[in-house]
């Protein structure tokens, strides 16, 4: 969809009059500082991951990835993301609908609550479930009596992951849907559409890129979460080890190639996420709103 307003974009440097930019040396120093900083803190860590992973050749890299423990870690990570991301998508859409489309008392408070997991240490996010479901936990006795296992098993990992990725989709959709207003929905209703049809044919297409953006970030965090999952997983090899936990175990066993091989997969995931995210921002910037950053 070509938007005529965007075509009249004028490159910034042409409109820079001498009065409102820095002198050349200052510009060079600023740019140099920024580049060195970004290179040292962002680029080098990324390069070192792949460098170390391939330090002993492609053969041992492939071997490290093919080990059964690694494969089961990959499977578990995919499984956890496949459960927790859809859950948070449903919640995100539902919360955004209630908050963006209606005016009600306590709305600001509810919005703050949704952001709460971002201000809690991942370790504490895991801890709260240990306190709830652990052997000494509030529900520990009851769960044991009924033979339900949550902690140090997949359900606990999923819960901890849901906790830390909870706000991603909602906080992406809320400002977007607020900005879009209720006009389109009112139009659809006036044309006879029911609530579901209005959502399905009008609201969802309007927010689909924003939703995808939220899912992307949510998924990256779900697959990469370490602290919270570490607390609730019990680190049982081949059973409750996600990829990030597996990286830790291999690293602590001085298996650098193995650790960095698994890490390279996660770094690859991060790169794909960044590329998709940038493409979304370039292509659909207006439709995902200026809600970048957290």
């Amino acid at each position: 969809m070509a938007d005529p307003e965007i075509k009249s974009y004028e490159p910034l440097h042409e409109s820079l009059s001498a009065a409102v930019t820095e002198s050349r040396p200052v510009r060079w120093v600023a740019m140099g500082t920024a580049f060195v900083f970004l290179a040292v803190f962002l680029l080098l860590p990324l390069i070192v991951v792949f460098h170390e992973a391939l330090a002993k050749g492609v053969g041992s890299y492939a071997e490290a990835l093919a080990s059964p423990d690694t494969r089961s870690a990959i499977r578990l990570t995919l499984l956890v993301a496949a459960i927790s991301v859809p859950l948070n998508v449903i919640f995100g859409i539902s919360a955004a609908w209630a908050i963006a489309k209606f005016e009600f008392k306590g709305k600001a408070f509810l919005t703050t609550l949704i952001d709460l997991p971002f201000s809690v240490s991942p370790v504490i996010s895991g801890l709260v479930y240990v306190l709830l479901f652990g052997a000494q936990g509030l529900l520990g006795e009851w769960l044991k009596a009924h033979g339900i296992v949550i902690l140090f098993a997949v359900p606990g990992i999923v819960l901890a992951t849901v906790f830390v990725t909870f706000p991603f989709v909602a906080r992406e959709l809320i400002p977007l849907m607020q900005e879009q207003g209720n006009g389109d929905e009112e139009a659809a209703l006036s044309l006879g559409a029911n609530g579901w049809q209005t959502f399905r044919y009008v609201t969802l297409p309007n927010v689909k890129w924003g939703l995808l953006y939220g899912v992307l970030l949510c998924n990256a965090r779900a697959m990469g979460e370490f602290g919270a999952v570490s607390v609730v997983s019990g680190h049982i090899r081949g059973l409750t080890n996600t990829m990030p936990l597996h990286v830790e175990i291999l690293y602590n066993e001085y298996n650098a190639v193995g650790a960095f091989a698994v890490a390279s997969l996660l770094a690859g995931l991060a790169l794909v996420t960044l590329v998709l995210k940038t493409l979304l921002e370039m292509r659909y910037g207006a439709e995902i709103a200026a809600t970048r950053g957290h």
């Binding site: 389109d184 139009a187 006879g192 044919y201 297409p205």
Partner: protein
């Protein structure tokens, strides 16, 4: 379809947006809700549509109480101020939307929907643009698509919120004539909201002038313009001049002179305000029973000349209109008498 608004009151967070408004809209009529922003005109339109619920009162479509119906059931065609076109749908999909979301037997076949969409596009003179997206249309074209979409559901009533508000002057004038033609051809009962008096007077069969949540006057363009019934209507619609006068013995006086107008029946004696249109005056030569004043300022307005007169001992300023070549414009003293006027209690 006839629409009756009966004693409707609407409050937002305890702030009254409409005070007990009643209005009868005749079947097939084209009616304008005219008023400044905050007058409640859009609220009234949204209440009729069912986009808002009245705090009190009822709205009837024919003999049916529509207040109990949801917006989907009311079957109104609503054209939104910024059109609210679905930007991810083509023009044809936008127009067909209301038919597509119907259930069961009420839903026409895909082919039928397409046929209806292109029929409506013909009606709004946009044939051939079926495959375009809203972003690829000009403002005037979007407006036409919005109207076609609203008409696709064969509404009982057509409601338009500031239909030409977002368009430039040239397009506005064209669309205005075009909307009138469409209305005459289809015969929908149509209500539109506007703050542009020219638009309201030119287009509507009847104009509803609103202010501060109340209806000030309902009438044809002629009635509104020639016989305004409140100072607000005088001021808001067209130009007006006003002068403080005194009512005494059935006559109107300025200072110690009668001005040759007799007070209407039942007007109480004492201070009052005389309202008239600057152009609706009779120029007089001599002055026995007239308003006379000294020319204080004169300016040319298109085909006429406006002069500002200072009248009476208190040098009250009042504006009247003269032909461009009228000698009175240069005279230091001008005498006149309003042809049509109205008296209101002094504020």
């Amino acid at each position: 379809m006839e629409v009756r608004v009966v004693n409707v009151r609407k409050e937002f967070e305890l702030f009254p947006a409409l005070h007990d408004v009643s209005l009868d809209i005749r079947s097939g009529e084209l009616i304008a809700l005219l008023g400044p922003s905050g007058s409640g005109k859009t609220t009234l339109l949204r209440l009729i549509a069912g986009l808002e619920r009245p705090t009190k009162g009822a709205i009837f479509f024919g003999d049916e109480d529509a207040s109990q119906k949801s917006i989907q059931e009311r079957n109104v065609g609503f054209v939104f101020q910024h059109y609210a076109l679905f930007r991810h749908m083509t023009v044809a999909d936008n127009i067909g939307f209301g038919l597509k979301v119907r259930h069961g037997a009420a839903r026409p076949s895909a082919q039928e929907i397409r046929r209806r969409a292109s029929e409506l596009l013909d009606l709004v003179q946009l044939s051939g643009l079926e495959k375009r997206y809203p972003a690829q249309l000009s403002g005037g074209q979007r407006q036409r698509v919005a109207l076609a979409r609203a008409m696709a559901i064969e509404p009982k009533v057509l409601l338009l919120d500031e239909p030409f508000g977002a368009l430039d002057a040239q397009v506005r004038r064209e669309l205005r004539r075009w909307l009138r033609e469409i209305h005459d051809a289809t015969g929908h009962t149509t209500v539109f909201v506007t703050h542009d008096q020219e638009e309201a007077l030119e287009l509507a069969d009847r104009v509803v002038v609103m202010s501060q949540g109340r209806i000030e006057q309902v009438g044809s363009a002629d009635e509104i313009y020639d016989i305004p019934n409140s100072p607000f209507v005088y001021n808001f619609v067209g130009e007006s001049s006003s002068l403080p006068v005194k009512v005494e013995g059935g006559e109107l006086w300025i200072a110690d002179r009668p001005i040759g107008l007799s007070a209407p029946q039942g007007a109480p004696s004492g201070e009052a305000l005389l309202y008239f249109r600057p152009h609706d005056v009779e120029l007089l030569e001599g002055c026995s029973g007239c308003i006379a004043g000294t020319v204080a300022a004169s300016r040319r307005v298109a085909g006429t000349r406006r002069v500002e007169l200072e009248v009476g001992g208190e040098r009250q300023r009042v504006e009247i209109e003269l032909p461009v070549d009228h000698p009175a414009a240069q005279k230091s003293r001008v005498a006149f008498r309003p042809r049509r006027w109205k008296l209101f209690p002094a504020a």
